[in-house]
């Protein structure tokens, strides 16, 4: 491997280097070829999983800091600035606080359900991280059903909300759980339908191929520019996804003025920390997916020449989308339950259905014209 391709895509280069080195080492030690392949497969798998598992909580910690800083700026405050320079060590202090807190299991809760709920909240989100393409060739796995997998994992989160709300045996938690579950299953539909638009445009359900399809001139052929379907589908996706993860202005399940803290009222210490982790990982996840399917993920100018730029493009777009959500949080009031249901079922669902029909009809017409011209010319 030549040095330039290593510098231009350092993480993939490092991965290949370790994999090849390990293979050579094992073969030199006299291990049979097929056993070597198996061992290398397992070790490299563990390595990638470890990197993603470390990256996820660290990212989550700094999104909490970003949120506090951005919202503070919008409200004309300073935000955390005591722990470390610019408050950069604040999230680490918070995490230590979560971890050393006493683990309290309230009396009368449904013990196994109460203890399992926070774990089931986190696991599907972390599993969804497996399919994200962080840069050129930088995805843990490239599933050919990537986006469907993502939506399936998102639907599992409902179960944890039910478990937390019902297992706590607390009326605030129960009402919060009911609201959250109703909201998640209502907004799942427009979210799935909005994701279907880029899938139609790309002709594939695999995340890497959807990104691949957005190369265009200078890597700027993003689906967002496909006016009118692209922008509308993107805004519907953003709203539905924000509602699905219960964030402002759709945070009725944890409306603190009515429901204490909603379905996680009875949770404290690290168990609450896990719900918190799931919420912010979800924020990152929906921003990353939005950036990937509407804004080309790692696509951008000169990515073909210098793949390492893709990482910057991907994180830049994702963080911009996260800031848009924080802006929602700083600017918008919470909506009512009836408004929530009306908006989801009577506005978003018909809009997305019309978008899918329009996109499909347009593609059919466009391909028909192309085929006709080809047949005519040849």
């Amino acid at each position: 491997m030549d040095i330039f391709s290593f510098i231009f895509n350092p993480f993939v280069g490092l991965y290949n280097l370790i994999r090849d080195g390990l293979t050579q080492l094992l073969l030199a030690a006299g291990v049979p070829a097929d056993t070597t392949r198996l061992i290398v497969f397992f070790i490299m798998g563990l390595l990638v999983v470890t990197v993603v598992l470390i990256l996820a909580p660290v990212m989550m910690m700094y999104i909490t800091l970003l949120e506090r800083k951005v919202v503070a700026r919008m409200q004309d405050r300073v935000g955390p600035n005591r722990v470390g320079p610019l408050g950069l060590l604040q999230p680490i202090a918070d995490m230590i606080k979560f971890m050393v807190k006493e683990d309290i299991v309230p009396e009368g809760v449904d013990r196994p359900v109460h203890l399992l709920a926070p774990i089931i909240a986190v696991v599907p989100v972390v599993m969804s991280f497996a399919i994200i393409q962080f840069g050129v060739g930088m995805g843990a796995v490239d599933l050919n059903l990537g986006l469907l997998f993502l939506l399936a994992m998102g639907s599992v989160a409902t179960i944890s909300v039910f478990m937390a709300g019902f297992g706590s045996h607390n009326k605030f938690a129960l009402i919060g759980g009911m609201r959250a579950a109703a909201q998640i299953i209502s907004y799942e539909i427009p979210q799935i339908l909005a994701v279907a638009v880029p899938v139609l445009l790309a002709g594939s359900i695999s995340l890497s191929q959807v990104i691949q399809a957005q190369s265009g001139a200078f890597g700027l052929g993003w689906f967002f520019w496909y006016i009118p379907v692209g922008p509308i589908a993107f805004f519907v996706y953003l709203l539905a996804a924000t509602a699905e993860i219960n964030r402002v202005p759709f945070d009725l399940p944890e409306a603190e003025s009515e429901l204490v803290a909603g379905y996680h009222t009875e949770y404290s210490g690290m168990k609450f920390g896990l719900f918190y982790l799931a919420e912010f990982l979800n924020t990152f996840l929906i921003s990353a997916i939005g950036a990937s399917i509407f804004f080309g993920g790692w696509q951008g100018p000169f990515v073909q020449q210098i793949p390492a730029l893709g990482i910057l493009y991907f994180f830049g777009k994702t963080i911009l989308l996260i800031i848009v959500q924080l802006w929602f949080r700083g600017a918008l009031p919470r909506i009512r339950v009836d408004q929530l249901m009306n908006f989801g079922w009577k506005r978003l669902v018909p809009i997305t259905l019309a978008l899918i029909l329009f996109t499909a009809a347009f593609l059919w017409f466009y391909r028909g014209v192309l085929l006709f011209l080809k047949g005519y010319g040849g």
């Binding site: 196994p112 359900v113 050919n144 469907l148 399936a152 039910f162 019902f166 129960l174 579950a181 799942e188």
Partner: protein, 166 residues
């Protein structure tokens, strides 16, 4: 390839035991809410078995539909109908003997059927990415059954709305 086959066997064994355990829990547990959660575990086990059979699409749709929709519906029903805080039900009722008989007959029937069917290995190459073929087949060869099923679901949906209104 020996080692891979052994590992696949082991994984299958673990998944099968977990799935069966969850299935038994579903019928034996007294708390209805716990039974519903155990059912979710069973659905996951079945999805894992689909994955091992290289039916990825089926596995993911299993999670999306059975866990994301059906299990959630069951949980909603449990939450809205039972006396929430104490749902201790007896695991059996008056009809247990008839139910056991029916299940035994069904089990034996399926068992004999499985033993009698000659399971041939087709020998032809398997598609690696089955989803496009599934989609094409659904919209060409099996278009009519597909549309009939859609109409059935639509009728059920409208029926539910009418019942809920009254």
């Amino acid at each position: 390839m020996e080692l891979t086959a052994i590992i696949a066997q082991l994984v299958f064994f673990v998944v099968a035991v977990l799935t069966l355990a969850a299935a038994f829990l579903t019928v034996l547990v007294r708390n209805v809410f716990h039974a519903a959660l155990a059912l979710v575990g069973t659905f996951f086990g079945v999805a894992a078995i689909y994955l091992m059979l290289e039916a990825e699409f089926l596995a993911i749709v299993q999670v999306l539909i059975y866990i994301g929709a059906i299990a959630v519906l069951i949980l909603f029903a449990v939450m809205l109908t039972r006396g929430m805080m104490q749902s201790q039900e007896s695991g059996t009722n008056k009809q247990w003997a008839w139910a056991a008989l029916a299940i035994a007959v069904l089990f034996l029937g399926l068992f004999i059927l499985i033993l009698q069917v000659p399971w041939v290995h087709s020998g032809t190459a398997v598609y690696t990415d089955t989803t496009p073929y599934l989609g094409t087949e659904l919209l060409t060869t099996y278009l009519l059954p597909f549309e009939v099923v859609s109409v059935l679901l639509l009728a059920a949906l409208i029926g539910a709305f009418i019942i809920a209104r009254e």
